[in-house]
Structure formats: C-alpha cells, structure tokens
C-alpha cells in the first residue's frame, strides 16, 4: 500500500473516531470546547477528507494500470510491450519518453486550457459506457478528435532530436507544417503505427526486464 493510501486512510480513521465521539456523546457540545470540536469534526475535517479524497482519486485515475483495468483496454496495454520501434506508443513507453506509470494520460490528455478537465469528462463517459452500455471492440475504439500535434510538441518541440532530425529537415516545409498542425505527425506516413491493436497477434512482445 502506497504512503498516500495509508495517510488518507489514517485521516479517514481519525475523523471517523472523532465524529464517533460526538455521535455517542453529543452532550460534549454543551461546553465551548465541545462546540469547537463539533465544528472541526463535522465541518472542517469532512472538507479536508473530501478534498484529499478527490485529489487522490483524480491522481489514481491518471495511472496506466487504472486505464488498463477495463478489459477493452487490455490490447492497448499489450501494444505498449510490442518489440518493434516503429510502434509509436511502445517506443515511448519502453524508452520512458513518457512516465511509464501515467503513460496513457500523458499522451491522451489535452495540453490546452481545461485539458485535464476534458480528459476527466471523457473518462467518466468511458466508465458509463463500460458499465451501462455495450463497449465497442478494442480495434473499433476511435479518438474523439484527430490527434493534435500539440500533444506531441508539448515534449518534442525544442528538443534537438526533433528540431535537427534528418528526416524532419529533409523538406523545409515539414517542421512548420507539423508545428502548425497542418500535417499530422501520425497520419503523414511518418509515425502512423501507434497502437495497431488489430494486428497484435502477429507481433513479438518485449519481455520486460525484471
């Protein structure tokens, strides 16, 4: 159990015990100290618990294992271990170009204003579809919008390998077009193999070093 889990559970436990004192001995609120205690445990502590709990749940929902805990996402998790550097998601995951523990979120959040909020709204919709509707087959899952180069450029822009790469500079119009999102990094014939879950049976998987 992680430290954050333990601390949150400890806070919940302490709060529950203090509130329990008020529930079983409400007469303690007849004194001034009792009134202050009641204000702290019935108003301040629940607010702190709710705030910490919300923060904890939001942070947990960014984790790779959280995304992959739905069976529809299993092939996407498997695609991160494809032993082929042309698989964009696998190359990023295996070489830690994205933090492995929040790999899905790092690429699939939106780096514009309210991007995190929009990602959470999409996530809530996914949970709704998962539990209350018929989820699509993994290979039929599509992005809501075409992938925006902004998400790639968030990390790659300014990086030497990106700015001075031979292929990126072979055509002088290529980098400006990519930076202004007129030419997609993914569908331009350069990095078009991303997850490719429909053909996972045909590829070799990387055995993660223990």
């Amino acid at each position: 159990m992680a430290l954050s889990d333990t601390l949150l559970l400890l806070l919940i436990g302490v709060s529950a015990v203090l509130i329990g004192v008020l529930v079983f001995r409400p007469d303690v609120t007849r004194t001034r100290r009792g009134k202050i205690l009641a204000f702290c445990v019935l108003f301040l502590l629940p607010l702190v618990c709710a705030g910490m709990g919300t923060s904890y749940q939001i942070e947990r929902s960014k984790r790779t294992e959280f995304c992959l805990s739905c069976h529809e996402m299993e092939p996407y998790g498997k695609s991160l271990r494809v032993d082929d550097p042309t698989y964009l998601a696998a190359a990023h995951f295996q070489n830690h170009r994205v933090p492995a523990e929040i790999a899905c979120y790092t690429c699939h959040t939106n780096y514009a204003m309210f991007g995190g909020f929009r990602a959470k709204m999409h996530g809530l919709k996914h949970v709704y579809v998962h539990y209350l509707r018929t989820p699509p087959a993994p290979e039929a899952i599509r992005l809501y919008d075409p992938y925006n180069n902004r998400e790639c450029l968030h990390c790659h822009e300014g990086a030497r390998s990106f700015e001075e790469g031979a292929v990126h500079n072979a055509d002088p119009n290529l980098l400006p077009a990519a930076k202004s999102n007129r030419m997609s990094c993914l569908s331009s014939g350069c990095h078009q193999v991303v997850h490719n879950v429909a053909e996972l049976q045909k590829v070799k998987l990387w055995k993660v070093a223990q």
Partner: protein, 69 residues
C-alpha cells in the same frame, strides 16, 4: 435552554452519522481499485458529506433561532 439543546444534539448525531457513512465509503473507494470507485466516490461520498455538513450548519442556525425566540 435545555429543551432546545436536546434536539440540537440529536441533529448533531444525525449529521455525524451521515459523515461517518461518507467516510466509510471513501475508505472503501481508496481500497477498491476499479474505475467505478471514482464514480461511487463522487456520487455517494460527495452527497453524504454535503448532506452531513449542511445538516450540521442547519442545526446550528435552527438552534440559534430557537433560543432567540
């Protein structure tokens, strides 16, 4: 004064029970690592905390009104 203190204590007790229920569900959501835990947290824990806190504040306001009357 004593007559109004009794219902106030009952209300505090009820507010406390609502919040304890919220805390219990929050603890379950921490230990339950499924995406639905997020929804349960937002829906149930949020509602129970809000109800408990608002009921506590209401009990204070109504107790004050009772004593001034």
């Amino acid at each position: 004064m004593k007559l109004s203190a009794q219902p106030l204590e009952q209300r505090l007790r009820f507010a406390g029970i609502l919040i304890i229920l919220g805390l219990l569900i929050e603890a379950i959501c921490v230990l339950w690592t499924r995406p639905i835990a997020f929804l349960v947290f937002v829906g149930f824990v949020g509602a129970l905390f809000a109800a408990g806190i608002l009921y506590y504040l209401y009990s204070l306001v109504s107790a004050d009104t009772g004593s001034s009357n």
